[in-house]
Amino acid sequence: MIPAAFDYVVPRTLPEAVAELVKRGQEAKVLAGGHSLIPLMKLRLSTPSFLVDIGRISNLNYIREEDGHVAIGALATHHDIEFSDLLKKKLPLLSGAAAQIGDPQVRNRGTIGGAASHADPFGDFPACLLALDAELKVVGPKGERNIAARDFFVDTFTSALEPDEIVREIRIATPPTGSTGTYLKFSRRSQDWAIVAVAAQVTVSGHNVANVAIGLTGMGSRPLRASGVEQALRGKGAHDEDIRAAAERAAEGTDPPQDLNGSPDYRRHLAQVLTRRALEQITAHH
């Protein structure tokens, strides 16, 4: 299929882009890498009459460390994130997740800002951003505001963005020494969306777990935190039996969907297995 007819504009600055969104209202959609939006348009499941292509706005593609934070521009591609030396060192959870998204074509075109804004409950970045307590800087007609990841992802394909707002930057506090993370994804084929995935970030101090955050993909209509696991493990020893007991709480408070790839029961089980494996993998390094 080819998309229904639409108009298209290429602003050169973020304020211009926001002005276009204000002018067009609900009819407009922001186009970044296009790897989520364009397939929906080709299937005519999405029929925006106006596209605002932010792909050529300069200074939106960067990954840098500043003021104790890692700042990632909204137009940084999955490929940029996968291969960033800074992220591989400071946030391997994020670079590792990026490497598991789709296929090389998707990773070359897709952007983190687009992936976050799309708010796909099966997307890989949302659970990571949630586990990393990321902040999303967004720009709208009233200026800029920060939205915490836990407030940003609202429901299936629904974020806290207003229709005339655009994600500008993603900020993550640089994890302390001894903190590392991993993203374990379970899917039937290598390039598929996750059936369930687990984003785990753990800070080990001595032999204890000083801090732990678990984000879950595919366990509800938005990414979720496995807070039961976090409570069970925080401040405890990183021993196998502690991890096993904590991981059993991975599905608490979740509402996993039923689809062709898995039943809710299977997803709950996978969440436990993947959480345990992720925690074992991280703590094995200490």
Partner: protein
């Protein structure tokens, strides 16, 4: 010697440069002026009466040239779409027209066509065609379809039962009386979507002034399309030309005459302009036929030592909403279900039913994967029940080389083969005994290794004219023309219609060996009904056994004429002249030779020819062999199951295949790689899922999971070579062998891995969740 210089050489495929650089010309790439774009409006309801179609708003849309419904075109269909006998000449089936007339019977069925000056205009207008449906309850289950009171799809058939026929021989009652072990098992062949990389597409151009029609179609069967387009459209066959340009895969899905080939042609004749239709992927998953969709119930009679006495299989075949052209071809599975084994009795029953789903037809293997899955699962079920090793069960029941040519209970005769040799080699390659020890060790550690065998045989090379006429309703043979030009270069025209198989390369190799002309000076042409005589096209791993050998025979005829011309030029007796390496000379004096180039010049300077000899250096062959060909092999899959997730990892995949003479071993390996991948796709990944309302839930490549290279292991391939005695090259077929062999190897391996859990069968696709559930259905208790 030039002979066997090219045959056996892994030269690079000459097709590949244009394909890998994106310069091949598919239907969608053809240059056309004044083209009209066609979009097909398709049924969204699986079963409904059409109470009205309002095309007014569509006709008013920008760029629209015409909109036609089935009722409006009915008088122009000279015949319904063709249906061939295919093993069940007594079957009942309804008339099937390119557009639905008063009822729709599956989601995706063509209802109307929109013709516009651009594709986007046609698509926009198609959304404005208003079809009013009066929904009827759909039938989406094979068994429910023939229950009393089930909604009937076709009033003219009277029920949803198309046929219920027996294929039996030997005393099955005696076999079961003698049996010490009786096993009953249901095996599922899930519905599959063929997914050629290039979906279908057609351009039809009817030249009003010349009254001639050309159809360019992404098809496996240009010659058949020509015949049927002429019949359905009422155009003399001599005025119809069909071209299959570059065709990006078929796997059986392009083996039949499709509605869109007729509709584009009709529209072109009405409008006086060329009409183009290109299928999109979403359409492809519904409008192009599906494969398999069968239930096999089998009862097995065996002895405690593993001897199989007889089997009683029933094949329930879901035809889908109509009987497709070769829709009952899969009944072939019943005829070859005896596999590589001897037994005393066979009692088969084949039942075909209509359901409100996309019609099914041939899909890579077409009947043989079903047969192989059945008999190879039977061997493992017997092994499990008797405690005899699956290798020993196979060895005990094998047809032996001294039994060849062996005639099966149902009367088919195998041409050749020693099935023990391929099995022994495959066992060596995996170190079978070592693997069994490793399996036992790993089980103690809670790790589940599985070893799966598949010792398949396959019928292909369709095929001798007499049995194919009787069975399928079409006489099948091979065709070639070999034509040496004035300058000594040659053109080979073949009746097969390759769509990925590499005939341009391999058949040039065949001709080069016979004629001694450099392989690069031999062009192979195909897929255009205007360039040569009737051909029988490409399907069923038939081409090399038929058309490849026809090339050899034509080249031999040309060589013989060349030798006669040479004798005349050398002023020698014909009997004294030998032809070798592109030269002819008097025996013993190779230094005084005339070359094929010199002979070719003389062939056209006819004054230099012997008295009474016609000019030209050309030969045509219609090759009809004495039997089918029967490739065979042994495949072994080694898998490990993740006990926590149910995921299957293929650790090794070993295949030893015997397809007779290998003209180009690299092309053979390529066919095996793709074939094995496709069979693994069925075993682990693929399934067309319909919901109870009759809607396809796997209508895109996001939901219909075709494996990619990243999901597959490296295949370890070896060969044995048993030349077929029924054709001069000794070739068999290899296009489907990988698919036929691999699904049962994988499933046997998974079931073997799950033996500690008491699992005796897992249905395809063996998804991680399904495997996980099987492992935990008894609370994970092992037996």
């Amino acid at each position: 010697m030039a002979i066997s210089q090219m045959v056996g050489a892994s030269i690079k495929r000459r097709e590949d440069p244009r394909l890998v650089t994106g310069t091949g010309s598919y239907v969608d790439d053809l240059p056309q002026t004044a083209i009209v774009h066609m979009v097909v409006v398709r049924s969204t309801d699986p079963h409904a009466r059409i109470t009205g179609i309002d095309t007014t708003r569509a006709k008013e849309a920008d760029g629209v040239i015409a909109v036609f419904t089935g009722k409006e075109l009915l008088s122009e269909f000279g015949a319904p779409l063709p249906v061939t006998d295919c093993f069940v000449p007594t079957k009942k089936y309804p008339k099937h027209y390119p557009l639905a007339i008063d009822k729709v019977r599956y989601v995706g069925e063509p209802v109307a066509i929109v013709l516009a000056s651009s594709l986007s205009a046609a698509q926009d207008a198609a959304e404005r065609v208003e079809v009013r449906y009066e929904s009827l309850p759909p039938v989406v289950d094979i068994e429910k379809a023939i229950e009393k009171g089930a909604p009937v799809l076709h009033d003219e058939v009277g029920s949803n039962l198309s046929y219920d026929v027996k294929f039996a021989a030997g005393d099955i009652e005696a076999a079961f009386r003698e049996a010490e072990v009786k096993i009953t098992q249901r095996l599922i062949q899930q519905r599959l979507i063929p997914i050629a990389v290039e979906p279908r597409g057609v351009v039809a151009d009817y030249r009003t002034w010349a009254r001639k029609l050309t159809i360019w179609s992404s098809t496996q069967i240009p010659h058949f399309v020509k015949v049927w387009a002429a019949v359905i459209l009422g155009i003399p066959e001599s005025d119809v030309r069909v071209v299959a340009p570059e065709v990006g895969g078929g796997f059986g899905s392009k083996i039949r005459v499709y509605p869109e080939e007729i509709l584009t042609a009709l529209a072109s004749r009405r409008l006086g302009r060329p009409v183009k239709w290109i299928e999109d992927r979403g359409e492809n998953t519904k409008a192009t036929h599906h494969g398999r969709s069968q239930i096999w119930d089998v009862e097995i009679a065996a002895k405690r030592d593993g001897t199989v006495l007889g089997i009683r299989p029933t094949q329930w075949l879901d035809l889908g909403a109509y009987c497709s052209q070769f829709g009952t071809f899969q009944v072939l599975g019943m005829l070859v279900a005896q596999g590589a084994y001897k037994m005393k009795a066979f009692d088969g029953r084949a039942v075909g039913v209509f359901t409100n789903r996309t019609p099914t037809d041939a899909y890579r293997g077409a009947g043989r994967p079903e047969a192989t899955y059945l008999i190879e699962r039977v061997m493992d079920l017997v092994a499990r029940e008797t405690g005899v090793d699956p290798v020993e069960v196979r060895r005990k029941n094998f047809v032996r080389v001294e039994d060849q040519p062996f005639t099966t209970l149902l009367g088919l005769t195998y041409d050749s083969g020693d099935y023990r040799i391929t099995l022994d080699r495959a066992l060596q390659m995996v170190d079978y005994q070592g693997l069994r020890r490793e399996q036992a060790e790993k089980r103690k550690q809670g790790k589940y290794l599985g070893i799966g065998l598949s010792t398949y045989i396959e019928i292909c090379g369709l095929g001798p004219a007499v049995p194919t006429q009787a069975a399928v309703g079409v006489s099948l043979w091979g065709m070639s023309v070999v034509n040496v030009h004035f300058t000594g270069k040659a053109t080979v025209i073949i009746g097969s219609s390759p769509h990925g198989q590499g005939h341009e390369t391999t058949y040039a190799q065949v001709a080069a060996d016979v004629l001694g002309i450099p392989v690069e000076d031999i062009d192979v042409q195909h897929g255009d009904t205007a360039i040569g005589p009737m051909g029988m096209d490409t399907y069923g791993s038939r081409s090399t056994a038929l058309d490849g050998n026809a090339v050899h025979i034509s080249a031999m005829k040309v060589q013989e004429k060349a030798r006669k011309i040479a004798a005349h030029l050398l002023e020698a007796a014909e009997g004294d002249v030998v032809y070798e390496g592109g030269k002819a000379y008097v025996k013993g004096t190779p230094s005084k030779a005339v070359t094929i180039q010199e002979i070719a010049v003389a062939a056209f300077q006819t004054s230099r020819l012997p008295k009474g000899m016609e000019g030209g250096l050309e030969a045509t062959t219609f090759f009809d062999p004495t039997n089918f060909v029967w490739p065979f092999g042994a495949h072994i899959a080694v898998v490990e199951i993740d006990a926590e997730t149910g995921a299957t990892r293929i650790l090794r995949y070993v295949a030893v295949d015997d397809c007779g003479t290998r003209i180009n071993p690299m092309v053979v390996d390529g066919q095996l790689h793709g074939g094995i991948a496709q069979g693994i796709g069925q075993a682990l990944f693929e399934e067309a899922v319909y919901d109870e309302a009759g809607q396809l839930r796997t209508g895109s490549l996001l939901d219909y999971l075709v494996p990619t290279a990243a999901d597959l292991p490296s295949f370890e391939l070896e060969a044995t070579i048993t030349p077929s005695p029924v054709n001069p090259l000794g070739t068999k077929g290899i296009g489907e062998a990988g698919t036929i062999a691999s699904s049962p190897a994988i499933i046997n391996a998974i079931v073997d891995a799950l033996a500690p859990f008491g699992v005796k069968d897992v249905s395809m696709p063996a998804t991680p969740e399904k495997v996980w559930q099987l492992m935990h259905r008894n609370g994970g208790t092992k037996r």
